[in-house]
């Protein structure tokens, strides 16, 4: 469970989050969606401690996020960004194992975990010794996911993880990712700007605008009972894309 209490954030005089109270349920997939600059990525970055709130508090699984707890909380979270954020100087294997080795895992334990994750994410074992520049975009994203899952975190945060992929690869990963999330029963918070993708993953969708939650609920609610005109407008703008995109989607 992730809780925001009275959280506000401005950046260079621009208000990103006016004041937010929000609870994201454990074991569910929550999808944050909205136009660019609506504050959805900032929410994720607040949770992982890359952004500190001006006011209010964030807590993860009941632990208040502060300078003392941030490292422990980060290790209990998996964070995946667009294009994987892999370190180019490390092989796929070393990227995934970096943190585990830092924590002193022995080679056997690291290898066993790598084997499990490669199977889970359907990543070829022989690709583990390649460097990021030698991998395809989809493979990089699978490695990024493996790295996030290495320490078996209870929460996975994904910031537009599929944004940089071409449609075929993207569709394939959407299927795999949902299967993984369902299997692991993790708390998932994903940011996307694609309503179709949101519907595909979501137990619940949060539509944001200017740092506010405009509507919260399943995709059907957003489509059928829009909370305000903006929701209908947002859905309409995405519908065309949804229909075209939908043909590729299983």
């Amino acid at each position: 469970m992730i809780e925001f209490q009275g959280v506000s954030k401005s950046y260079e005089g621009r208000v990103i989050l006016p004041r937010l109270d929000l609870t994201l349920p454990a074991g569910k997939s929550t999808i944050l969606i909205g136009p660019s600059g609506c504050g959805k990525s900032t929410l994720l970055r607040l949770v992982i401690g890359l952004v500190r709130p001006d006011t209010g508090t964030v807590s993860v699984e009941g632990t208040l996020l502060n300078p003392e707890t941030v490292t422990a909380i980060r290790r209990a979270l998996g964070y995946v960004i667009q294009d994987g954020g892999l370190f180019p100087h490390l092989s796929a294997r070393d990227n995934v194992a970096l943190m585990a080795r830092h924590l002193g895992w022995n080679a056997g334990r690291v290898d066993r975990r790598l084997g499990e994750l490669a199977e889970l994410t359907r990543f070829p074992l022989d690709g583990l010794d390649r460097f990021p520049t030698q991998l395809s975009g989809g493979q990089r994203q699978r490695v990024g996911l493996m790295r996030a899952l290495m320490l078996d975190p209870s929460v996975i945060l994904l910031d537009e993880p599929l944004g940089a992929l071409d449609p075929m690869v993207r569709a394939e990963l959407q299927v795999d990712l949902r299967a993984i999330f369902r299997e692991l029963k993790k708390t998932v918070v994903m940011v996307t700007h694609d309503l179709g993708e949101a519907g595909w993953f979501a137990d619940e969708i949060l539509l944001m605008r200017d740092g506010r939650i405009v509507q919260r609920g399943p995709l059907s609610d957003l489509l059928d009972i829009p909370a305000e005109p903006f929701v209908a407008q947002f859905v309409r703008a995405q519908r065309q894309v949804l229909e075209i995109d939908g043909k590729d989607r299983p």
Partner: protein
């Protein structure tokens, strides 16, 4: 390796004290230094000649700092440069002023190396000219003097006034060209130094300064007064040279070294044998041995100063990359150091560090800082923000982020900075010879002094250039070790 090299140096500094003789970077001074060294050695007193140590400031500071025990100096230089602005009159006042700084002054070695007026001996004989006053009777004589002499108040203008010289046909030209013009008869008289090698080589007559216009530049030993208390003997031995070298003898030695290209140590040995009756050994070192010794000296300077610069500049570069304000400050200071002329920097350090390798190491260390600092700071700043955040989000502590992510990603830039510093360092290390640090700068200095292009090139400039290329190649190879494979794909 660096530690063991440092040990060797430390040992070098504490070996039993020989008498340390200095000389300036011109032939006469080097010959006098060799004379002193050989004479002392033959009398059973260990002596070491640190040759060609730059100019007056370097030598005198080194003497004051206790890095040298004795060196040959000129009375005019003592009054005009070392004790300038104190308006001292007479020998007693000068002696007292020097004594106040712990320095003693000997009696004249017998020659006065001052400005003089010279003519072709045959021409002067025909016209019956022996003194400068005699020139008054020959208003048509054409003078050619150096541009500096024409302008100096104590040069031509003053000379003309004092002697009331009538000559109007005076041209300014380069000193070297003046000798040629004199030899070809284009000019009849020129100014020269009274012990110039060319006096003998060209058969010149030095006109007597009968009105005593030119200041006296008697050559004397300047020595540390504590040398007397440490051991009186060296001084007594050196006193044996006082009054024994007249202008002609000095000019003859200068000619043998400069014109006939006889090495200074041989010239000094011959003088000792012929005039003082002392036989001395001249040790000469073969080309290969010289080259290897200088390579060792040069590499020592570069390796120690560069290692120290790496150890200091990389942490400072990390700070500069993290804190913009501190970064501006650190880089400005390093940049400012870079603008200090190297010779000035070396001279500043002599009172604190003496002469030899130490001040050279410090100067080279300081000059190596900027490229390493700048590349480290820039390299770290240019690590993509997404990667820095990924490392943070993983929960890696700051220290591990630096070592495992940021340094490897910035490694190419940092290595580039070190490579630049190394190449600059190898070039700059040649100036270390000015303060007795040895290396490939030494033959360059000697070659310039002797007008010996072969020596400058084959023993100094080319080996230094080859070393720079070799070191650069070594760094290119080391890129494979330092820069992670993933960044070289």
């Amino acid at each position: 390796m660096i530690a063991s090299l440092a040990m060797l140096v430390a040992i070098g500094f504490v070996t039993p004290d020989p008498v340390r003789i200095g000389s300036k970077a011109f032939t006469e001074s080097v010959i006098l230094g060799d004379l002193a060294e050989q004479l002392l050695n033959e009398e059973g007193i260990p002596a070491l000649h640190r040759r060609e140590l730059g100019g007056t400031q370097v030598l005198f500071h080194a003497l004051e700092a206790g890095e040298l025990d004795v060196y040959p100096e000129y009375t005019g230089t003592i009054a005009a440069e070392i004790l300038a602005g104190q308006n001292l009159k007479g020998e007693a006042e000068i002696r007292a002023a020097l004594a106040g700084r712990g320095i003693g002054i000997g009696r004249s070695l017998g020659f006065n190396n001052t400005y003089a007026i010279g003519m072709q001996d045959t021409v002067a004989a025909k016209l019956g000219i022996r003194t400068i006053s005699d020139l008054r009777k020959h208003p048509d004589l054409k003078f050619g003097v150096s541009n500096e002499f024409i302008e100096r108040i104590d040069g031509w203008p003053g000379l003309r006034t004092r002697y009331d010289l009538p000559q109007r046909d005076v041209v300014g030209l380069e000193h070297v060209l003046a000798y040629k013009a004199l030899a070809s008869g284009e000019i009849a008289a020129t100014e020269l130094y009274s012990t110039d090698a060319e006096i003998l080589a060209l058969g010149l007559r030095v006109l007597r300064d009968d009105l005593g216009y030119f200041p006296s530049y008697e050559c004397v030993w300047l020595y540390r007064l504590d040398l007397k208390t440490r051991a009186a003997k060296p001084l007594r031995v050196l006193e044996r040279l006082e009054g024994r070298i007249d202008e002609t003898a000095m000019a003859r030695m200068n000619k043998r070294a400069k014109i006939d290209k006889v090495v200074e140590s041989r010239v000094a040995a011959d003088f000792l044998r012929e005039t003082i009756g002392v036989k001395s050994k001249v040790v000469s070192e073969g080309f290969a041995r010289r080259l290897v010794r200088r390579l060792g000296e040069h590499l020592f300077l570069v390796a120690v100063s560069l290692s120290a610069a790496i150890a200091v500049a990389i942490p400072l570069g990390v700070i500069a990359s993290r804190r913009p304000l501190a970064g501006v400050f650190i880089l400005s200071v390093a940049g400012m150091i870079q603008t200090i002329p190297s010779l000035a920097l070396l001279v500043f350090m002599i009172p604190v560090l003496g002469i030899g390798a130490k001040p050279a190491l410090v100067a080279l260390f300081l000059y190596s800082l900027l490229p390493i600092l700048r590349n480290t700071a820039t390299g770290l700043r240019e690590v993509p923000i997404g990667l820095r955040e990924s490392a943070e989000a993983l929960g890696l502590p700051a220290w591990s982020r630096l070592w495992k992510v940021e340094f490897p990603l910035a490694s190419r830039g940092i290595l580039g900075g070190i490579k630049t510093a190394a190449v600059i360092n190898i070039g700059t290390a040649t100036i270390g010879a000015l303060i007795g640090a040895g290396g490939f700068g030494q033959p360059i200095l000697t070659g310039i002094r002797r007008d010996d292009l072969t020596m400058i090139l084959w023993e100094g400039a080319i080996p230094a250039a080859v070393l720079a290329i070799a070191v650069q190649a070594a760094f290119d190879l080391s890129e494979r070790l330092v820069v992670p494979k993933g960044l070289r794909l």
